[in-house]
């Protein structure tokens, strides 16, 4: 599963997830992308599960990009442990995701297949998502006509 090779500090503060994604809100490399619509911590397991769902649906065709990386460590005390004794050890890794962030991108397959693969990926994620396309202006223009 995804996690940093080495970190400067093992444990981190929780932090806040205010506002929308400043960077990473465009489909850059692929043709279709999956965009987060809510803020959340997405765990490395969830990212891997969603990635597998996409690649399995595409039968290893096309190309898939994972646009988030779980670089935040989350600590967790063992069960039935009394409080105190300092911060617990690192249990898992998460990616901090804000609304608007592109999570996955797909290219090299027909558009309907890419959309279906990303729908299956969204089933593995704890947040609401939507499918977006690289040519934002064309999408916005078609919406403006409708």
């Amino acid at each position: 599963m995804l996690q940093p090779k080495r970190t400067k500090y093992r444990k981190q503060f929780r932090g806040r997830m205010r506002g929308a994604a400043v960077t990473g809100s465009n489909v850059n490399a692929g043709e279709v992308g999956l965009k987060a619509m809510e803020p959340c911590w997405i765990t490395a397991r969830q990212i891997e599960s969603a990635r597998i769902a996409v690649t399995r649906h595409l039968k290893r065709g096309g190309q898939v990009w994972v646009r988030v990386f779980p670089d935040k460590s989350v600590s967790k005390k063992p069960a039935e442990t009394r409080m105190g004794g300092g911060k617990a050890g690192v249990d898992y890794w998460v990616a901090v995701v804000k609304p608007g962030r592109i999570l996955f991108e797909v290219a090299g397959v027909p558009q309907n297949e890419a959309v279906e693969a990303l729908r299956l990926a969204s089933q593995k994620l704890p947040i609401a998502t939507k499918t977006v396309f690289r040519d934002r202006l064309a999408t916005a223009a078609s919406n403006a006509v409708a």
Binding site: A20, S25, N26, G108, P110, Q111, L137, A140, A141, A144
Partner: protein, 205 residues
């Protein structure tokens, strides 16, 4: 590929700063027009009209006129700000250009047709280069650069920047050897036999 400029009429804008939120709620997008030799102008336009003009123009210039003023400007969409959540346009920067001086711009590359090499090998076409940098006079600037995939006959064939057909008045600035598209064949892929010279049938999208 040379296009006549898309026409767009803009209105002078009185609301500035954070007050432009009111305009956006009313379906109007704030626009800024600036460039060499002209004073920076705060303008506005109805969202559907502006978006359609930007989509039609792509990387080619827009012929901009301001309501109640004589004369116009040739302008390029320098920056389009998007709302990351709603995917709506927040603000547009238009950069005025002199029609007699060459400009450089990023022109998006559009792949057309089917690659026989991909059908034969069971692979898919991967576009590696999404845009190329070109230099041309504003009115010669193409909206997009179209490349026909029919030349990709073999499974290992690639399209390079030099293979993009550009009008004579347009100069390619991107490295000509840069790969635009290649065929990606997954392990175990099964291709179909195509007679020589026959294009592949539609994949039924």
């Amino acid at each position: 590929m040379t296009t006549s400029a898309v026409q767009l009429e803009l209105q002078p804008r009185e609301l500035l700063g954070k007050k432009v939120g009111r305009l956006r709620r009313a379906g109007i997008i704030p626009v800024h027009l600036y460039g060499p030799g002209i004073e920076s102008r705060a303008l506005q336009c109805a969202a559907p009209r502006l978006i359609q003009a930007l989509a039609a123009a792509a990387s080619s210039p827009i012929s901009v006129t301001v309501e109640g003023e004589a004369g116009g400007h040739l302008a390029f969409a320098r920056e389009i700000q998007w709302d990351p959540r709603r995917d709506t346009v927040l603000h547009v920067d238009l950069l005025a250009a002199d029609a007699a001086r060459p400009v450089t711009a990023q022109v998006s590359v559009a792949l057309t047709g089917e690659a026989p090499g991909a059908a034969r090998s069971g692979g898919s076409v991967i576009q590696q280069l999404l845009s190329v940098e070109v230099s041309a006079l504003p009115l010669d600037m193409p909206a997009q650069a179209e490349v026909d995939l029919a030349a990709m006959t073999a499974a290992d064939s690639t399209l390079r920047a030099a293979d993009i057909p550009l009008p004579a008045a347009v100069t390619l600035l991107t490295d000509p050897e840069e790969i635009v598209a290649r065929i990606d064949v997954p392990p175990g892929a099964v291709g179909i036999d195509l007679p020589e010279g026959e294009p592949p049938a539609d994949s039924g999208e």
